[in-house]
Structures are given as C-alpha cells and as structure tokens.
Symmetry: C2
Subunit: 329 residues, 2 copies
C-alpha cells in the first residue's frame, strides 16, 4: 500500500503544489519527494514508489482523470471486443518512462537507507476500472463480460498481463528491489472466477518475471478479500503474499508454510483507536505469527486520510519494539 498520503501534512503540501493527482505521479521529482516523506518521518524498513495502479490503462489512452473526492474515471471505457482489439501494450520506457525516472531518482536519494518497492495492479483489477469506467460500482459490467464473452475477457486480461510483465521488468531495471501486484478486486469474485480470471493472469506475470533468472527480485501478491485462496496464490511461485485482516496470520502461516513470506495484517481502521489499543493489536499479530522468519509487518490495506500521523508512528515503533523477542529465535 502507499505509505505517503493525505494523512501526512507534508504530502498535502506537495500535492497542492503539484495541482492534480496524476501530475504528482508523473513528475519524477515530486513522486520521489512524497515517496521519501514517510521514510524521513518514520523508522520504516522499506519504501514503496509513489505511483498509481492505473498508469498502464492511462498509457493505453483511456483518458484517466481523478475528480476530487470521486476516485478515478476513464473517459473512454472498454466495453466490447472492438474496444479490446484497439488496445496496444504501452512501451514502458516511452509511455511510462516517468515511473522509471521516479524509481531512479528515488533510489539515488534513498542512497541505500532502505530498499525500494515497485508495483502494478493485477490484470483483473485494471480491467474492472477499464470496463466500468470508474470505481465504486458493483462491477456488474466487468463481471458480465467474464461470463458473456470469456474469450474477449481473456484477451483483455492477457494483454494486461503482458503489459504488466514489461512494465515490472522495466521497474526492476530502473532499480525496484521488490515488486508487488495489487489485486484490489479479486476478492469479489466467486472462487472459480477468481482462479480463472484473476489468479491465472497474475501467475503468468510471476512466470514472465522469473524468466530472467539473474534479474530475480521478490514478487509479492496481494488479493484483498483473498484469504481463502492463499494456497493457490503461493503456488504461483511468488516470494510473498499480502494478507488483509480477514484471516489470522498464524492460521495463514500454518496453511502456506515456508513457501512464502506473509505481509500483514493490521486493520488500518484500528489506527483510529488509542495508542495503547494500537500497541495491543500489534502485539497480538506478532504473537499470532510467532517465532521464525517470513513476517513482514504491514497494514492489511491502505491508510486513510483521517489517520493521525502520530498513530502511524505508534504502530511502527510498536512493531520494532515488540518484534525483538521474535527475532531472537
């Protein structure tokens, strides 16, 4: 998830200077600036590049905009086979060069302090926005396409998977030291549809990225609401899984064993609770995971604008302090 965001006053200041959200994402120096803000403020162990999952459909020419308080909109949604046939794969250096430039300048500015994570949206998640034209729907149009014209749906999803492989390879070449794939909307599918339309195409991205053995960086998959399918996700060959808070991390660990690391799983809504309650919940999650390697403490989803920055600090400090006993085993 993004570490920077509207909960930080320094982010709001940079955002105001940038004007609109996509200018912030697509201006490397500004993207670098907001990427570093949480690293400068908190004792974080990694940075994630400030960007958006919709950069690929934006580069495909669908006319992305972010209306204030309304989320993303596409002027030209993808509605039928002709729309899908007209789509091309963006060139990661020409069309998405601003992301690569942001990664390079951020690596330089980080100067080895912490590793830098790159990311992309899952093909299914990108497709939902491209088909619906906006967020906040029940995905009726996107889901109907899956069952109405399965062939066209797979054509779109395969194209997005191919585009994402090229995009993430370029991110790796530009300095990303780990790669995450965010599947925000996989969890609203039936199990069979999740495997066919979301997981299959994430698996092909993992396979595509692993073809360059000497360029191996860890790949982390996250499906919100996907706790039932962790075994299937781990079988893709990824290095780590993101976990929301709908499953206990100890139980998740028992299910996927030593195959993958687990990243999670603090409910971000609990950042609105008191410092004492935040520390208690951090302790509970650490104890639930238990001894041994492979736990990357993280929120189970994004941080929301109303969070007190001091509360985020309480969480981060609690993780450092309370995790010490678990590192000794």
């Amino acid at each position: 998830m993004r570490q920077a965001g509207r909960y930080l006053p320094e982010y709001r200041a940079t955002r105001a200077r940038a004007g609109d959200f996509m200018t912030l994402c697509s201006t490397p120096d500004l993207a670098c600036e907001v990427t570093l803000q949480p690293i400068d403020r908190y004792a974080l162990d990694a940075a994630i590049i400030f960007s958006d999952i919709l950069t690929i459909p934006h580069a495909m020419g669908l006319g992305l905009s972010f209306a204030e308080g309304e989320g993303p909109r596409f002027a030209k949604p993808v509605r039928n086979r002709a729309d899908i046939d007209a789509l091309g794969i963006p060139d990661p250096l020409d069309d998405l060069g601003y992301v690569m430039a942001a990664l390079k300048v951020t690596r330089r500015e980080l100067n080895g302090r912490v590793p830098l994570i790159g990311f992309a949206g899952s093909p299914w998640t990108l497709a939902t926005y491209m088909i619906e034209g906006r967020g906040g729907t029940d995905l009726r149009t996107a889901k109907a396409l899956l069952v109405e014209d399965t062939h066209a749906a797979h054509k779109l999803l395969s194209l997005l998977a191919d585009a994402t492989v090229q995009y993430l390879r370029a991110q790796r070449a530009a300095g990303a030291q780990a790669l995450m794939i965010f599947d925000t909307w996989g969890g609203v599918l039936t199990p069979a549809m999740y495997r066919e339309f979301s997981l299959r195409h994430m698996a092909s991205i993992v396979a595509g990225l692993k073809e360059d053995a000497e360029q191996d960086v860890p790949i982390i998959l996250f499906t919100k609401g996907g706790a039932s399918w962790l075994e299937d996700m781990a079988a893709t060959g990824c290095a780590g899984l993101g976990l929301d808070w709908s499953a206990d991390i100890g139980n998740a660990r028992a299910r996927v064993g030593e195959q993958v690391a687990l990243q999670g799983n603090f409910d971000p809504a609990l950042l609105y609770a008191s410092p004492d309650s935040i520390r208690t919940e951090v302790g509970r999650i650490l104890a639930d995971y238990g001894n041994g390697p492979g736990h990357v403490f993280n929120l189970g989803h994004g941080i929301t604008p109303g969070v007190d920055p001091a509360h985020a600090g309480v969480l981060i400090d609690a993780v450092h302090e309370l995790s010490l006993p678990y590192h000794q085993n």
Copy 2:
C-alpha cells in the same frame, strides 16, 4: 434479502405513493403490498416481510432518516457510555407494532401460498450504524469502540441482542414462519473480533429464541463475507446459514455437513449478464451443492435497482427447472 425493491416497477409505484422509505416500512398495508409484489410476479417458494434492519435503533429514538440516494442516517448517533446507558429496549408491540401488523396482514393475504420470513439485523451490524451515524464508512469509530471500551461495546451489543430476541419473538407470534438475522458488517472484522463482538451476540439471540421449545421456527444466520466462519456460525444451533458467493457452496456443505441448511449463493451482479449466462451459473451452483436436502437457492446478497425484472425471472425459473434432478435423489 429483500425480494421487493426498486428493480420492480410496481414497487417504485407503491414507494412513490408512500413518499418516504420509512413510511413504506411502517404502514402495514403498504409493507404487505410490496411484500406480495414479487410473490405475485414470480414462482418464489417463500416471502420475506418488507421492512428494514434499522427498525430497532429507530424505535430507540435515534432519529433515523433515509436521504435519497444516500442511505440511512441517524440524527443522534451513539458515541460514548452515556449515550449507551440512555438506551432502552423498545417494546415490540408498542414501538414496533407496525412490523407485527404488517406480518399479520401479509400472512392473511398470502393465505398459505408460501411461508413468510421475518428478520432482524445482527447486534454488531445495528451498532455500526448507531455508532457511525450513517452507512458507507470504514467503521473506524465502531471498531475503535470495540478495542477502546470493550465493556461499553458489549453493553450496547447485549442490549441490542436482548431487544432482538423480544422483537423476533413478537414476529414469530405475529406469524413469521422463519427468522433471519442479517449480519451485513461482521465480515469486515478480524476473526477474533468477529467471534467476540458479532457471533457471540447472534448466538445469544438464537439461544433466547430457542428457549420456547413449542414455538420453534427455523433461524437462519447470514454474515456477509463470513464464509471462513461457517463452522462457528453453525455451532450456534441455528437451522440455516446464508452464504454469499465468496465460497463454493459444495465446499461449504462439506464443512458444515448436515448440521444446517445452506441458503445461497448466486452473485447478484450476474443478474446483469444474459439469460443464458444466468442459467449456466444457476446450473453450476446446483451441481456444486449436489444431491440431497438442505439447499435453499438464493442470491448471495441483495438485488440492485438496475436489474431487469425479466432476468430475475430467468433465475427463478432456471432454479425450478434445473433443480428437478436433485430433488429425485
């Protein structure tokens, strides 16, 4: 879930005559009229009384209103111990008599055609609206109360459970032949918080209702997003579980065995697909459940306003036709 709703033109006509939504719910003849509309139109096997889960907090005097297109709002949200201490249990006959009157007139008008289902919201789900003051939030205030002042939270939830036992007993006495408890927001809790704050209080309602052995009617629990916890839900002693589409119903059946019936689990977004696709999905769910008793075919969540009434008919007819082979075993 409601069978009547804005997808039906006859509902929209009655709703327009009623004026606002709560007038429709609280005028027994109008509530009866919209309850019967889907029964008259479709070959349904049961009716569910037209009402709202927020009748109890409304009767507690919190000032419920439904702004057009905005969902419920409470003028006086519950924010602290003093607010909780001030709440009383509504008298089901005095304060909620309109629901009992609607059940009675509907039983009379149904005249034995199909059984009539009554319902209530789960204590946790009611509490989220009472604490947040409206829907559509990330439940930060409600979740914070659970961890900040667990004692006050349980006081509120116990009060709501007691009120719900009285309410559902009165519904049973007024003619409800099955009772459902809708836990719309249990699925957004961590597993431990779900068990402590949502399931525990639903279990106490089930236990309270089962005290009158001679008045036994089936109780069905539904937690949206609760597919991971079906075993725990079944252990409450309820007769049936509602299932959204996030788990396969065959797998769910294997987990809860013969303990409970299963109601579900068609994704209502697929009602926007073509009649052929709707029939295919109905066939898939029936085959997944397989032979034997205990499957109540249903949507996995509410029907949305844009659904073509003809498509709802396709689903209902497909269930009757395609389920025949499974009834012969």
